[in-house]
């Protein structure tokens, strides 16, 4: 049973990481805390439902279209709301994003309704390996997440644009001095962050359900992941996601299921006490 629980924790942790990466990449590069993170996550799942219900019934094709639309939404949010607030005190952009989160949640309730929706996944059934059970749905979703991590890794470490992004993370002014177009980087990174967040919403929304207030617990989990892994670090968010997935499942099965969310927060407090910058954070 322990092996099954650890497997459950790792699988869900991998997908959790994607949620944290979206939040962290934005913070790491432009010091903007995306308080609308949870609602972008929710909108990702909604886009998937709308695309599948409208033009493209195929799940995987619809997921790809959702990801592209989410990137454009991110660009729109950046140009409309975030751009004038970059470099301003953290509170200005945080407040603007809280406004956006309230707007998004309520516009979805008003236009789409409060009803939960089950996103149908095309591959049913269960894989059993050595007495351990995983649904094909979870297995595929974890696979998609791992591919996303791989593409992200290649992009950040093997392309010039990725190198420019990492340089901007390390030192914005120095990057600008050597000719990096920082404002272009900002636009791209914010859109990328929103895209990853929306993708995690679409994937986790498929595993669970879509409902307009699903962003509330997502942002709480994302902040926990970011604290565990370290603010601003992509690798940290992935590690934080894995850690959160494990801690939640093991705490829930061996201590108390009712306090499942509390274990993640408890471990976040412990990390803050012993290593405030997080596991992978910059000291």
């Amino acid at each position: 049973m322990l092996e099954q629980q650890i497997l459950n924790g790792l699988m869900i942790g991998i997908v959790y990481g994607l949620m944290g990466v979206g939040l962290n990449i934005i913070f790491g590069i432009m010091d903007v805390v995306n308080m609308a993170h949870g609602e972008i996550y929710m909108v990702g799942a909604l886009f998937l439902i709308l695309v599948m219900g409208g033009i493209i019934p195929n799940y995987f094709a619809a997921l790809f279209v959702t990801i592209v639309i989410s990137f454009l939404l991110g660009a729109l949010v950046y140009l409309g709301i975030v751009k004038p607030l970059v470099g301003k005190p953290l509170l200005s952009s945080a407040l603007a994003m809280i406004g956006l989160s309230i707007f998004l949640e309520n516009i979805v309730i008003a236009l789409y309704g409060p009803k939960p929706v089950d996103i149908r996944f095309p591959i049913g059934g269960v894989k059993e390996i050595g007495g351990l059970r995983v649904t094909n749905e979870l297995l595929t979703i974890v696979g998609i997440t791992l591919v996303t991590y791989a593409i992200l890794y290649v992009f950040l470490y093997r392309t010039d644009f990725g190198t420019a992004i990492r340089a901007t993370v390390q030192n914005r002014d120095a990057a600008a001095l050597v000719g990096v177009n920082v404002s272009k980087i900002y636009l791209f990174t914010f859109s990328l962050g929103c895209m990853l967040t929306a993708a995690s919403g679409a994937l986790l929304g498929t595993m669970y359900l879509f409902y307009p207030v699903m962003g509330g617990s997502a942002i709480l989990k994302s902040f926990t992941i970011v604290i565990l892994g370290g603010m601003g670090s992509v690798e940290g968010a992935v590690a934080g996601g894995l850690l959160l997935g494990l801690v939640e499942i093991l705490g829930a099965s061996y201590i108390s299921f009712a306090y499942k969310d509390a274990f993640g927060l408890a471990i976040a407090i412990i990390i803050l006490l012993i290593r405030p910058q997080g596991l992978f954070g910059r000291g």
Partner: protein, 394 residues
């Protein structure tokens, strides 16, 4: 000399002003004596319209709204229209209490309906007692709400204790000997789990583990399900709201659990059935109202509801629809829309509604029906049996 003239002038002016003021005061038109109010009779409804139970709360409001529209189309009550004012309670008792206070103080409603959550209703009835305006719930089932007397609080739905009496007997009749209970960690879940566990044990059932509690916003049950698989119960008692409950049965089916599931809460709602899909098939549920009942007016209600909202009514819609008719009957009976008169009328009233007859006992508890249903292939609900609730032995 000049100063004295000035003083006289000022004194004269003051005297003139006083006289003018006094004359003016008596000459001005008097405000008309208070005439009987002719505006609509306002009824408040407080339910969760955001948060995890937004769907259930909205369906209750939908039912009430339909009743108000029907009554108004027939000319209203005492020649006045009804006006329904909804407020969002979220899942937070403080917001629920604030919503009731706002409805009474600002909107001047004569009666309040709600809430979905027993914990919210517990907070709301303090407010309705304080402001002396009747509060009626057709959804909250925590027994303790009517175990102590509240002068201004009435309940049309049977309590969990009443339901448990009938439903636990039914579960044992179906054959299972061992059970596990999963329950949402809210007042409703705590109360229900505290009642069903002992009821099943009293009837010879065995409860295999401590109650599995989960948070109201929980979406991942894999840890719980792995544990339940190891315990191998004959049946699962699922005490839950729509979203979490649907996710639990879905994930349980994926994990290979195929024992009967006895639902308590939101299982027989279209949203639960739609979201749980195939996994919902076979799940039992115990309700206070169901579209299959052949109570007077039920068929017409369903027809109108489906036409208006494009889905079958939930039991919350059925109850809050009936509660509006109850209030209208009480106003008619009292011949007045005064909160105190409505309260007195509610104590005496006896009406027949789509949820069955409503009549309150000395604790303001009505004995509605206990309806046991099962979800079949294609999301159809079949009626197993309906019995009138009985007072449980205390």
């Amino acid at each position: 000399m000049e100063r004295r003239t000035l003083t006289y002038a000022i004194v004269a002016m003051i005297i003139v002003a006083i006289i003018a003021g006094a004359v003016g005061y008596y000459m001005l038109p008097r405000p008309a004596p208070p005439t009987p109010p002719v505006g609509p009779i306002k009824i408040g409804i407080v339910d969760p319209l955001s948060g995890g139970a937004a769907y259930e709360g909205q369906s209750g409001v939908n039912g009430a709204m339909l009743a108000v529209e029907e009554i108004n189309a027939k000319g209203g009550v005492l020649g006045r229209k009804l006006l329904l004012i909804p407020e969002d309670s979220t899942s937070d008792p403080a917001s629920a209490a604030a919503a009731v206070r706002k409805l009474i103080v600002e909107d001047k409603v004569v009666c309040v309906l709600g809430d979905y959550f027993s914990s919210n209703t517990a907070a709301m009835l303090e407010v309705s007692d304080e402001y002396e305006v009747p509060l009626i719930t057709g959804i909250s089932t925590a027994p303790k709400l009517t175990e102590e007397y509240h002068k201004w609080f009435f309940r049309t739905v049977a309590t969990d204790a009443m339901n448990a009496l009938a439903y636990a007997k039914f579960m044992i009749e179906q054959g299972p000997k061992t059970f596990v209970i999963i329950a949402v960690d809210l007042e409703f879940g705590r109360e229900a789990a505290g009642i069903y566990g002992p009821s099943l044990e009293a009837l010879g059932g065995e409860i295999l583990a401590d109650v599995y509690w989960y948070g109201a916003e929980e979406v991942d049950f894999s840890a719980m399900i792995t544990d339940i698989l190891a315990k191998k119960p004959d049946a699962i008692v699922e005490i839950s709201e729509t979203v979490a409950g649907a996710l639990f049965v879905k994930q349980a089916e994926d994990a290979g659990i195929d024992v009967p599931i006895f639902g308590i809460g939101a299982q027989a709602t279209p949203a639960y059935i739609e979201t749980a899909g195939e996994a919902a098939v076979g799940v039992y549920s115990c309700l206070g109202y169901c579209p299959l009942l052949d109570t007077p007016g039920n068929a017409e209600f369903i027809e109108k509801y489906v036409l208006r909202y494009h889905e079958d009514p939930t039991e919350y819609a059925g109850f809050e629809y009936s509660d509006v008719y109850l209030v209208a009957a009480a106003i008619e009976h009292a011949g007045s829309a005064d909160p105190a008169a409505i309260r007195d009328a509610l104590e005496k009233i006896e009406i027949s509604t789509i949820i069955g007859p409503i009549k309150f006992d000395e604790m303001h508890q009505s004995y509605s029906l206990v309806v046991i249903v099962q979800i079949k292939e294609g999301g159809e609900i079949t009626l197993f049996k309906a019995v009138k609730a009985e007072k449980p032995p205390s």
